[in-house]
Symmetry: C2
Subunit: 271 residues, 2 copies
């Protein structure tokens, strides 16, 4: 296996994009390639991480983005794995470079749903869960996660103040992140007086619908032309899976895929 590096990265500020996902993707991709000291002609493969292109009536994003970059001849595919679409795209790039099938791979993720009404956008998100048994019967992501939180509350003590601490920390972090959708700290009072979305979740526990686009360039060590501002070696990349449909899970509190992926990644990196 070849040593594989992330040699360039770029992102826009998440929120409401005026651009289409396709336009934003091409723009951040160009920025990531440029930061890597490369030109689009150096890219051997493009992976587009995207779940909801159809919200803009647009599939087949790879060649459209490559055409905008001036490299329509470069192969591409869209990778969808719900919330893990970006990491799945990054893993494919790692496999192509580490295995010697490509020297430099572009991974670009983009989503845009803000032009849709809330019900339609919520329905798009719900396609990431089990349709026939869960979302067809009215389950939404806030509702499904609230079910998990309720199960957690049955097993462990969970006060509103404990919940609040998570949201307050997250919003404090966002206030320091120039790319975050909302960059405003919240107080305990603001949290506790906010409306309940899906008990026990209040408004500030829930994520907004955010448009955004990000790109990274993954390359073999020997093909790095100019070190990125902060080049990163990929010490390991592994993926696992677990049960999506909540009614099939034997444990509502565990995250078996994350645990196993962590174990495998440490082992694969020899750490």
């Amino acid at each position: 296996m070849r040593e594989t590096w992330i040699v360039g990265a770029a992102t826009n500020r998440f929120g409401r994009m005026a651009e289409s996902a396709r336009e934003a993707a091409a723009r951040v991709a160009m920025e990531a390639i440029d930061r890597a000291g490369l030109s689009p002609k150096d890219i051997d493969h493009t992976f587009v991480s995207n779940a909801f292109g159809l919200a803009e009536h647009q599939g087949h994003l790879g060649p459209l983005i490559n055409t905008a970059l001036g490299i329509p001849e470069v192969p591409s595919a869209t990778i969808e794995s719900a919330c893990s679409s970006s990491s799945a795209g990054l893993h494919e790039a790692f496999v192509h470079v580490a295995g010697g099938f490509a020297d430099a791979v572009l991974v670009v993720g983009a989503e845009k749903l803000s032009h849709l009404d809330t019900l339609t956008a919520t329905s798009y998100f719900a396609t990431g869960a089990d349709f026939p048994f869960e979302t067809r019967n009215g389950a939404t992501f806030p509702g499904l996660y609230a079910t998990l939180a309720s199960a957690y509350r049955s097993a462990f003590p969970l006060t509103p103040e404990t919940m609040a601490a998570v949201a307050i920390k997250n919003h404090a972090n966002a206030a320091l992140n120039p790319h975050a959708h909302f960059q405003k700290e919240i107080s305990l009072e603001t949290y506790l007086s906010s409306p309940i979305v899906a008990s026990p979740f209040r408004l500030y526990d829930c994520c907004p619908f955010s448009d955004g686009a990000s790109a990274v360039v993954v390359a073999a060590k020997e093909f790095i032309k100019r070190p990125a501002a902060t080049p990163l070696v990929v010490a390991a990349s592994v993926r696992t899976g677990s049960i999506v449909d909540m009614h099939d899970r034997t444990d509502l509190l565990g995250l078996p895929a994350s645990r196993r992926a962590g174990e495998l990644a440490f082992r694969s990196a020899g750490l």
Copy 2:
């Protein structure tokens, strides 16, 4: 690179499926794994080739299919590249096995659109073309391909009888294929008296909306447990790209991606 084989394959009869894409995919996947002499536990990675899961409100197909196969812990991703989604999935499987990242990979493709009305189904297909400049303005796939056929007709002689010969040959082949949607030969008279869909295309030049599901298992030579009925070595797998949006193409008659992929594949196979 490890020698890579297709060790099992299965497909259903294309047409109108009563099952969902997810159910049909799991069924043919099990059949392909079984024909390979393997069990689902032997699968290291699943790629689902699918463009229109959202037509059934269902994304995130990989873990749902893997769960149905009893292997929810196996990593998976959906691959979309419009009409080449299946070959893109097959290529990813090849890369994983040839590169030594997996010993056996399941590639399963499934689509279902027959429950939608014609306008809605046509709109789904149109997402494979350029939306802002073409399909938003009314272009459909029959219309876009008719434009190519008209350009061809301007450059080369093309009589209705020449067109008919292609359709008659295709339908004769379909009559011999137990998996084909329509299994009926057509005569020159039937062809010539059929309605025009998008000039110069008549009804029998155009494909129907067909639901279907197919699966293959790709494995390293040393992991073949029982040779499939007709095991196939993958002599080469390469991908290329070209311009999707028709208004950006410099040549409406060429197929540069196919030509280049063919050249690269022969070179890669040493043929």
